[in-house]
Symmetry: C2
Subunit: 247 residues, 2 copies
């Protein structure tokens, strides 16, 4: 039985030191990009096109797409709604392909796109995605989106939750100190995730902008079995792609 | 009373996102550079010239300096001794100016040299240095040397120990998630530091090379009141410099 390597990367700026083209990368941006993307798939979205630039999002809007776009917590005037997971309701997204504008999230997904596979992770799909990672015979990198390249608490914690699930399979080994730090934080926080998250800087930012109603949803386990993956520049559910075509 | 900002930076590759020219930077490289430097000052060294390149260390040796230099755990053939803190004994270093060759350590110190002041931190001088940081009316950045730009456990933990001391003065505030993560690790590890450090990758590397005899010394609190600072490219004790001359 071949052991697979597990690493955690606490900031996009550190990704080049962890990069491994044979690995499956799990992008984690708990507040709020990857939680919102998982919520959209749970509610039947067909695909999500992640875009970095506001201009690009506007072009999609003009060509008929529904667009989710915020900057600094304010919905852009041409957008249909903002980036809260509550916006991606079944009424709005079921059966549709939509555009999600997120500067940092898009950058992080593209950064990892030369790896074996880029997946979208959050508490909302943690068990389903962890099962996939255990089934695939690949190394795994847990890639935290962080905040402007700084380490943040909420993504580090979620990386710890994923790491604990993967390591408990006994199919992964790790020599990565970041994995161990993340697991220790998770052991401290797991009994009261929201209480723990209360000290995070992003939690304060969302509170200041009255955008913190999503906090509980973003920390709810296993709302969906959907596993969004980056495929030809779009996010789609893994059940719709043929992994054998990668190589 | 003006509050000062406290940040922790877990990797040299993240320093540019924390940089603050008005801050005092504490460079932390527990295994082993900053512990060894503190041990040398405890044993009476007058100054330490940190050099990055082997070639530069060799030139100093030829001009008569005592040189500590290792690569991958092996003492370089021209060097007087390696980088273990045990090598910087009073018999060897008292009253002398010596050269310390450390690629990563030198890089990290130089990186921070445009800040208000670069100090060398370790468990060996943690109380003395923390007192200085409380007395100075400056922001503080705890800069972990890490391992090849990756986050490591031992430096993160020591940053947590410093942060706890500084925050308990009530003179610092922080909105930096890394500080909070480091403090939480410290709360988990403080009762059994060596037991906790056992899982770090660097601890395994040192064990494999039979260089782990220094582990206990590198995790011993308050062996010295010396505070090495970077001054004109050399490390000297803070008592020998006039801080008022900075600006």
């Amino acid at each position: 039985m071949q052991h697979r390597n597990l690493e955690a990367c606490f900031s996009p700026a550190l990704y080049k030191y962890h990069e491994n083209k044979k690995a499956i990368v799990v992008v984690i941006d708990v507040l709020r990009a990857t939680s919102s993307i998982c919520a959209a798939f749970a509610n039947g979205v067909v695909s999500i096109i992640p875009v970095a630039e506001e201009k690009e999002a506007l072009e999609y809007k003009r060509s008929g797409y529904m667009v989710a776009a915020e900057r600094d917590g304010y919905v852009l005037d041409f957008a249909d709604f903002g980036n809260s997971p509550f916006n991606f309701s079944r009424e709005k997204v079921d059966g549709k392909s939509i555009v999600y504008s997120t500067t940092n999230g898009t950058k992080v997904m593209n950064m990892a796109s030369s790896s074996y596979l880029v997946t979208i992770g959050s508490y909302l799909n943690i068990s389903a995605l962890s099962r996939l990672l255990v089934e695939q015979k690949k190394d795994v990198i847990l890639l935290c989106a962080g905040w402007k390249n700084k380490v943040n608490i909420e993504d580090t914690l979620c990386a710890g939750a994923f790491a604990e699930k993967l390591l408990s399979s006994n199919l992964f080994t790790t020599n990565c100190d970041s994995v161990k730090i993340a697991c220790d934080l998770w052991s401290l926080a797991r009994k009261d995730m929201l209480g723990y998250i209360d000290k995070s800087a992003q939690r304060s930012r969302l509170r200041d902008k009255k955008l913190d109603d999503c906090l509980e949803l973003c920390h709810t386990l296993d709302i969906t079995d959907k596993i969004p993956v980056l495929w030809d520049g779009k996010l789609v559910d893994i059940s719709t792609v043929n992994l054998l075509t990668i190589y």
